[in-house]
Symmetry: C2
Subunit: 366 residues, 2 copies
DNA sequence: ATTGACAACGCAAACGTTTTCGTGTTGAAA
DNA sequence: TTTCAACACGAAAACGTTTGCGTTGTCAAT
């Protein structure tokens, strides 16, 4: 086997494993073949001045020929960092969360990190298990959004323990203020106000709210924004117009229940001329039910949903929504985490970054 | 600090690091504190018979108190396996692919594996880079679906090299027959036939096809199924009725182009009474355009799409689709990979598993 | 001939495990 | 008292790196 390095030098290496190389080649292999020490090989590959030009060329040629790549695991052990982060999300078949992952992954690729994804499925136990299996050296830090069950039980010991062991966490969207970590959230409260203000200025007098139970932080904030915006516009909130859906039974598989609840809401309050829903699915379903009840959108009823997703863009009529900028949230979260990981002196000051929502006007509003 | 192990024994450990423990505790720490060797600690924790009951109890109590967990990286290095797999997909904000991930993750959790996700963004270069950064010891094997650009360029060297280095690959959905690895695919050809047969038996005489350019393997197969099914039903395929969309410009951001193409198709062929589209978006857009042109669905025009997603379920009318069972594909792919990884003697016989599509009838067909 | 400097390289430790093998201590059998 | 097994534990190698430092060898200067 002949390998030409330059026009000047020609190296001749005999294949050191007659069969096709299966296992990856290591420094040790190279050292043995070239009859030098492992240290010499390592230094030669890193272009150390300690090594002669001749040796460097020979080693580098050999390494290239056999496609040597340093073993990441060994490097991780030595450097005590893995260049890998863990991302725990409640659900992946979901426009917003997959957008966040896309954002995280983009920055990770850019900065040389890998991303391990764990799904909690909205379950406390799975969240804990996922975190425990990753926190034992596999990763350098976490990015996560808290599961509904965890929010409901209000048991946050696993977050605190992880942080106490020196592993940083960045939380996004569903966060807990008390936990000492960086956070990226959306302006749930202000976003809601934008939506309500829009509806009011479009002439709506009776605006209904379709939201979740209060233990989901984002649901609570969006509800609060609705209340405040109404007040600010001199409208007295009417409890009749607020539908709090129990999302223990995830809507996707219990559409009928959702539809019935909304139908009741609209039937019982014939004067409704605006609906604000805290997510895309609730908004879509509202439009569907309303049309069934003979209402024209947006003439009789205007609808706005939180979370801009694929449904909003492709429904008919298309849906006016508040965009959460999921990808941007992911990017920001990743940057916060990487910056913290690469900053030697640990900084006890944690940031909370607020990403502004944007009202995207489509056909469901005038 | 007092720790009660049983009613009989009481151990008293002094905190060996007066500050709150930051870095994770290792065998070495425990050994030093308890004044035994590292080997003894290791054996005691694994309940070796070599160690006396007394010592075992003491070590285990201490380990539990300080929440000792073995370092995964060190284990990976020693065992030469990481219990982690890499998953490379073209896109994550996508119903089908995120379903696959969900399936993979479910099995991975069950069998004690972690999942690193890499996105190719349909780009050849990113696919290669992602694979190279993972193939250096970070993972034990790959699950992947080939990017469009790679399919277009037909450059598969990175797959072959990875396999030659002894790292198994499982491909799903977009696969290449020539590559020696396990595969999980959907019955694209048969699925198409189901759809066409349905339309024909529902009375359609002029069925249009909206598909992609041929280099995407699944697109080609679905097109082929359309052709064959027509022939089998005694209908001569009509080139006029076939629209091959250039998906270099991803539809999501070029909806206008897509809509215009479809509008032309329908205008030029007034007799069209059925449309079969190779994905959900094409089908949805067809319905939208058709309605704009005054066609009633399903009375005047029936529509079936490949890939059952969130759009199909929530559009109005709801869309009849072929379900790809993405989650099941992910589960199967993961099982194939884990089985191969855990099988000592390497098996040169590769399987191709075909997941059957299922026709889900909704409102867009009679 | 003796020094000293410098170039070129190897040794060994370290990261945190597991595991094989060796060793010292006990107690009982001879 | 000697011998030997059983017991309980420790030393060291291995996984694949990087790096500080010690060790050679060569050659010019004294």
């Amino acid at each position: 086997m002949v390998f030409r390095k330059t026009a000047i030098k020609t190296y001749e290496f005999h294949i050191f494993d007659s069969k096709i190389m299966k296992r990856k080649v290591t420094l040790k292999h190279i050292a043995k073949e070239l009859d030098v020490s492992i240290s010499t090989v390592s230094k030669a590959l890193r272009n150390s001045v300690e090594i002669s030009e001749d040796t460097k060329e020979k080693v580098q040629a050999f390494a290239k020929l056999y496609n040597y790549k340093p073993n990441n695991i060994a490097l991780s052990l030595k450097n005590r960092k893995t260049k890998t982060i863990g991302v725990i999300i409640p659900e992946i078949v979901h426009y917003f969360f997959s957008m966040v992952i896309r954002g995280i992954e983009r920055i990770a690729l850019e900065r040389g990190y890998n991303v391990i994804v764990g799904l909690s499925n909205e379950s406390f136990d799975k969240e804990v298990i996922n975190m425990e299996t990753l926190a034992n050296g596999s990763i350098d830090g976490f990015i996560l959004s808290i599961s509904k069950e965890t929010l409901f039980q209000q048991d946050y010991h696993h977050f605190n323990e992880t942080i106490n062991q020196g592993m940083p966490i960045v939380m996004f969207d569903r966060v807990i203020n008390e936990i000492p970590c960086d956070k990226v959230i959306v302006d749930d409260l202000d976003g809601s106000k934008k939506a309500i203000n829009k509806l009011v200025s479009n002439g709506c007098k009776n605006i209904a709210l379709i939201t979740t139970k209060d233990y989901v932080s984002v649901g609570r904030l969006r509800t609060q924004g609705y209340m405040e915006a109404l007040s600010e516009n001199g409208i007295a909130p009417n409890a009749e117009l607020i539908l709090k859906v129990d999302d223990k039974l995830e809507a996707e598989n219990h559409l009928d229940v959702l539809e019935q609840s909304i139908e009741q809401l609209i039937r019982n309050n014939a004067t409704i001329d605006g609906i604000y829903a805290v997510n895309e699915l609730y908004a879509m379903t509202s439009m569907k039910v309303a049309r069934k009840l003979g209402k024209n959108i947006p003439e009789d009823l205007q609808v706005i949903g939180f979370t801009d997703g694929v449904l909003s863009r492709h429904s008919s009529p298309t849906l006016t929504t508040l965009s959460q900028h999921g990808q941007q949230m992911g990017e920001k979260a990743a940057e916060l985490l990487f910056d913290r990981l690469e900053n030697e002196e640990e900084n006890e000051i944690y940031q909370t970054i607020v990403i502004n929502t944007e009202l995207i006007e489509r056909e469901s509003t005038k």
